[in-house]
Each structure stands twice: as structure tokens, then as C-alpha cells.
């Protein structure tokens, strides 16, 4: 896949510079180590919410920095976890004295780098709490894997934790809320075509014209299995049923339905999937009370879709609805 870039090794740095220029009142960019913080950071007395991960998933995480969501985001190289010094400096920059929640997607690298940063933060007297996101049902959570990946629910955890922190909730509460969101969210995705990491120069796998990867992650790696390309409604069933059965989601509950574009899938197609996913959820006796449709957690230019279903309670909905002012999500302000 061809790309709009200059030197691949300058991609992240140049994109950050562009974000700083595009959203001057919203966020500030620190160059070395690289991180973004909300323009008014640190917000004294407020629990700070921080996340980060490899670049290439935009708008996740930098596009979610701002009031009501993330205080800071740490971008690593493309698909590469940020380093402890990035995370530590960002943690220090947003620490308002009430502690810092680290939202960590469950990938070995993310977990270890955040762990080490957490140790360093503790040494500096900053209290951190880690909320691990591992909502992907495609991977078994077993002794024989590195655990379930953190995917779509990350967006929801960031929003809800961010709102709770903005509302003045204490560190332990914000973290507990984030964990509850993670525990009630399930996701799964498919890819119609792969992505290419700039340094690699070619996609990590090839798909024939009638093939798709089922159980795809957001780092360009192959999925759980290859399958024949099916119509959208059948694909939606293939995603929804494992999601519904995994929690399991029970009739009578309220849900937030999030249909996510992985990068190159047109919005038209995302809405086709949403329509069918909504029908399936309703047939299961679920009430879809909130929705999110669009490319929010991407994998460069991968074509594909992931679905995240979150069983919500009144508190989650209230914090979902709370004002947010970031580059990628904005309401109530």
C-alpha cells in the first residue's frame, strides 16, 4: 500500500506536529519523549487518565485527549508500545495530585512498558492504577496465549473513565469503573484487506479476492483463521454471535453498540453492518441505548470492521453522555 509520508521514521513525529497545529486550544505536544496532553494539564485535584500504545490506530489514543476523556496519550512507533520514559513523563505532566489511571490494552509490550513506568511513577510518589482492557473474544484467554487483546472497548473505557475523573471521582472509583466497563464489553473483528507498516514496505499477509481474515486484531497480524468472504449480514452474524455468547449478554439488558471501521472501510458499509448488528442484538432481547459508528480504533489502512458490544448500566450511560472535548469525540461542549 502506498502512503503519504516523508521518511517513515519521522511519521509519528510529523503527525504529532500536525495535531498540535490543528488543535492548538485542545492539546499540547511534547516531542521528546513523545506524548500529548490536554491543553489545561495538569488539572489539579482531578484523577488523571492516561493511555497510549503504538501509533497507527488513530484517532486512538491522541485523538481522545481533552476534557472528559484522556489527560494524556503516549504514541509509540507504528504498532510499537511506547516506552516507560514516555509514559512516566506524560504521567508526571498530567498528575494533578489525585492519582493517575493508566488504561492499558492487553498486549505484552503495552503491559510491560506501562508496568515499568508505573514502578517509576511510584518511586516518584505518584499513585497509579492500571485498567487492563482485554475485550477481544477472538483469542482464548488461557495459559497458552498472551491473553485477550484490548481492542474496541478501549474507546469506551477511555470515555467513561475520563468522564468519571472529570466528575471528580476518586482514583479507586475511576479504576473500578474502567474495569467494570472492560468486564462488560466484548469485541471481534474481520479484515477484508491487510495494512502495511511503513518500515515493512509490504503487508503482513495477503488475502485473495474472495477471502477474509476472521478474528483480526489491530496490529496488522493475521487473524484467527482465514475464511471465504461472505455478505455483510452473514459477517455481522459471525461477529455478533461469539460476542453475545461470551459475556454472555442476557435478554432485558441495555447495550452500547459500537461498529468500528478498521481504516479503509467506507462509512456506508459500517452502517450496513450496524443495521444488522442492531437487529441481532434486538433479537437477543437487548436494548441498544447508545451507538457509535465510525473509524475510532484503526489499523492503518486495513479494510474491515470490528464490533464492540458493551452491557451498560445507568452510571456507564451517564458517563458516556457526559461532555467530552477531544479531536475525535465531542459533545456537550
Amino acid at each position: 500500500m502506498k502512503k503519504l509520508l516523508n521518511a517513515p521514521s519521522d511519521l509519528v513525529k510529523e503527525a504529532l506536529a500536525g495535531m498540535a497545529l490543528a488543535h492548538p486550544g485542545l492539546l499540547r505536544v511534547h516531542v521528546d519523549p513523545a506524548f500529548l496532553v490536554r491543553a489545561d494539564a495538569p488539572v489539579r485535584g482531578k484523577v488523571a487518565v492516561l493511555s497510549g500504545g503504538g501509533s497507527g490506530h488513530e484517532p486512538l489514543h491522541g485523538g481522545f485527549v481533552g476534557r472528559g476523556m484522556l489527560d494524556a496519550a503516549c504514541p509509540g512507533a507504528v504498532f510499537t508500545s511506547p516506552t516507560p520514559d514516555q509514559i512516566l513523563e506524560a504521567t508526571r505532566a498530567v498528575d494533578g495530585g489525585a492519582g493517575v489511571v493508566h488504561i492499558v490494552k492487553n498486549y505484552t509490550g503495552d503491559v510491560m512498558n506501562f508496568e515499568m513506568a508505573g514502578e517509576l511513577a511510584r518511586d516518584l510518589g505518584i499513585t497509579t492504577e492500571t485498567v487492563l482492557v482485554n475485550d477481544d473474544v477472538a483469542v482464548e484467554n488461557s495459559l497458552y496465549t498472551a491473553g485477550r487483546r484490548g481492542v474496541g472497548a478501549t474507546v469506551l473505557v477511555e470515555k467513561i473513565c475520563g468522564a468519571a475523573a472529570e466528575a471528580g471521582r476518586a482514583l479507586a472509583d475511576v479504576a473500578a469503573l474502567g474495569r467494570r466497563v472492560n468486564e462488560h464489553g466484548r469485541s471481534m473483528g474481520i479484515a477484508l484487506s491487510p495494512c502495511t507498516v511503513p518500515h515493512a514496505g509490504k503487508p503482513s499477509f495477503e488475502l485473495g479476492p474472495d477471502e477474509m481474515e476472521v478474528g483480526i486484531g489491530i496490529h496488522g497480524e493475521p487473524g484467527r483463521r482465514r475464511a471465504k468472504l461472505e455478505p455483510a449480514d452473514r459477517i455481522t452474524e459471525m461477529l455478533m454471535h461469539p460476542i453475545l455468547d461470551d459475556l454472555p449478554f442476557q435478554a432485558g439488558k441495555d447495550v452500547l453498540l459500537f461498529v468500528n471501521g478498521l481504516g479503509a472501510t467506507p462509512l456506508l458499509e459500517l452502517y450496513v453492518v450496524f443495521r444488522k448488528a442492531h437487529e441481532i442484538a434486538a433479537a437477543r432481547g437487548l436494548r441498544v441505548v447508545r451507538s457509535l459508528v465510525g473509524p475510532y480504533i484503526t489499523s492503518l489502512e486495513m479494510a474491515g470492521v470490528s464490533i464492540t458490544l458493551l452491557q451498560v448500566d445507568e452510571e456507564m450511560v451517564r458517563y458516556w453522555d457526559a461532555p467530552v472535548h477531544t479531536a475525535a469525540l465531542r459533545w456537550g461542549v
Binding site: 503504538g54 510499537t80 516506552t83 516507560p84 505484552t108 515499568m116 498472551a146 496488522g220 497480524e221 484467527r224
Partner: protein, 206 residues
Amino acid sequence: MNADTVVQWIERAAEVIEENEKTLTELDAAIGDSDHGANMARGFSAVRGKLTAHPRDDIGAILKMVGMTLLSTVGGASGPLYGTLFLEAAKISAGKPEIDRVVILQSLAAGLAGIQKRGKAEPLDKTMVDALGPAIRAFEGAEGVSLAEALAQAAEAARLGAEATIPLVARKGRASYLGERSAGHQDPGATSMWLLLQSLAEAGAE
């Protein structure tokens, strides 16, 4: 082994990593996210930049610098693990301008222990542990030969260990998401670990 040799090792490692960046990328493309080559190259390039001016009186200090630099530039899963490897090894050789094979063995073992403590990988999980573990055992068992020969045997054991990851189903790291599909591909981290140890053997041979 003196500090100059250690510096030669790391310089050689940086060269070897750079020469093999594409290979590491391709290995990580098959069962990962295609970044291991760039990660390691970035890290060792940063390390090389700091090596030339570094004092040569304390091997531990050199290894600590390498560990800190890798930790703050590599990222991903390999960054904290390689960072830990060097930081733990650094503790063993702290303050020493020269180290003998006992210290080398202890340093490598401390490095492995650190990797396993941080990443919780066991042998045959299809990780860098599958290159480093055999290398340490080979080094430990290389009695009655020169240090250079022992390091060479360790490097060879690492090479074989990396190759032996090919048929394994990954149980740690990103490759584990692929399940059975991870079999048939050599682990990228085990490969870079071999390259590191091969560079050590080459430095030790001079």
C-alpha cells in the same frame, strides 16, 4: 573480557541488527506486527551513538547504559525484555573493568531471569527465551575450552534454539494470538537474541 571487548560486542551487535533489520521485520510480519526489525534497529542505533564517548572503566556502567537506552527507545515487547536483560547483567558486572567467564555466566543468567520474571515465558513458549536459555546452558557446559570457544558454542546453541522455534505454537507474545498458525515460522525475538549472542562471540574471538 575487558570493557573494550564489551564495547566491540555492542558495536558489532548494532551492525548485525542493522544488517538483519529486514529479516527481523519479515519474521515479525509472519507472526506479529512487522515492527521487531525497526524496533531493534532504532534501539541499537541509539545505543551506538552513546557508546563511543562512554567511559571504559566499568562494564556494569556500559551495560546499564545499553539497557536504559534500549528500554527508552525500542518499545514493544522486546524493549522491556532486552532492557531488563542488560540492566540485570549490569548489576552483576557493576564496577568491574574486566569480567571472567563466571561473571559472564552469572550476567547472562541474571539477564534470563529478568526476562522470565518480566515476561513470564517458559522454555518452548516460542520466544527469545528459547535462544537465550540454550545459549546459557551451552556456555555453562563449555569446560576446558577458551572463552572465545565457549562464547561461540553459546552463539551456536542460540542459533539452533531460534531455529527450533519454527515448529512451535506460540504461547506468549503477539504470536500466541495466531494459535496453530504461528507454527512454521521462526520467532523474531529468538532470532534477534541469537544475533546478539553471535555478536558477543565475534567480539570475544578477537
